[in-house]
Amino acid sequence: MESVLRAGAIYLFLFLVFRIAGRRPLAEMTAFDMVLLLVIGEAISEAINGANPSFTHAAILVSTLVLMELGFAWMKQRSPVAERLVDDVPLVVVDHGKPLKDRMKRVHVDESDILEAARALHGLENMQQVRYAVLERDGAISVIPESSG
């Protein structure tokens, strides 16, 4: 019976916390968000499987982590500097078919990464068909084809 109550309480608690947190925090799934979710999962799993049976302890850990995420989201909304510090900034790595080698070297992106994104996103065949390639804040490469616009 205790296991059912424990699992039910944890389910309700997590449901409430993530509804309170809303859609944006933890929604973009950056590497950091993934690590954060793993840490939350670990804290909760200890409370569920009884290794550390304190529900209160797990609730404090999860609440603190989610609250910090909300705090950073709040700061980012109000300060462009904070947004840059927390989320980084996008970087153009191809300009009208021309790879910007210095920039690519700095961010550890090579031509094959860009061509892979160009093939996957737009079915492009070569670099000349790429108007812009941008390394986005979450690490993904977005491609704007030469023919667009």
Partner: protein
């Protein structure tokens, strides 16, 4: 009511619901903040507001009044050094609620009695550290004694 169909985009936004839900989120965020601040202050576990103690004659104990179930709790007893060995006795409810995992210094003798445990330490011992794991949630009222001095401990164990 509150359902918007925008032009050709078939989408049910329920804007009234979204507005009400924003209020819930603000209240919830404030509650989360209060919860974490309470935890930081020690109202939900160890922390400044949790530290407490009790004194009876020469016997003194320091402990956290708020504990978590299954998490290590520390109790520090101080007693006067008498002419013989130092005895520390834990009574009834305290033993039911706490699983004593570690006693320092090592007692010379442990005597299990009816609803009590006596720890006998070497002559000259004045400070005893106990580590224990609370076994059940809820209020705990226990008693400890040394010689003729007896004091009560009050804890609350969170689930």
């Amino acid at each position: 009511m509150g359902t918007n169909k925008q032009r050709s985009l078939e989408i049910h936004e329920h804007l009234d619901f979204q507005r009400r839900f924003r209020v819930f989120q603000k209240i919830g965020t404030a509650a989360l903040l209060a919860f974490v601040v309470a935890a930081f202050a020690g109202l939900l576990g160890s922390g400044p507001l949790s530290s407490t103690g009790a004194t009876a004659g020469a016997l003194k104990v320091d402990y956290d009044r708020f504990q978590h179930r299954g998490y290590r709790a520390s109790l520090k007893f101080q007693a006067a050094a008498g002419p013989g060995p130092t005895d520390l006795v834990l009574h009834g409810a305290l033993l039911d609620a706490l699983d004593i995992t570690h006693v320092a210094p090592q007692p010379e003798q442990v005597v299990f009695g009816d609803e009590q445990v006596l720890y006998r330490f070497a002559h000259g011992t004045t400070t005893v550290h106990l580590q224990a794991e609370p076994q059940r949630a809820g209020p705990v009222r226990g008693r400890a004694s040394s010689g003729s001095d007896s004091l009560e401990l009050h804890m609350f164990v969170y689930p």
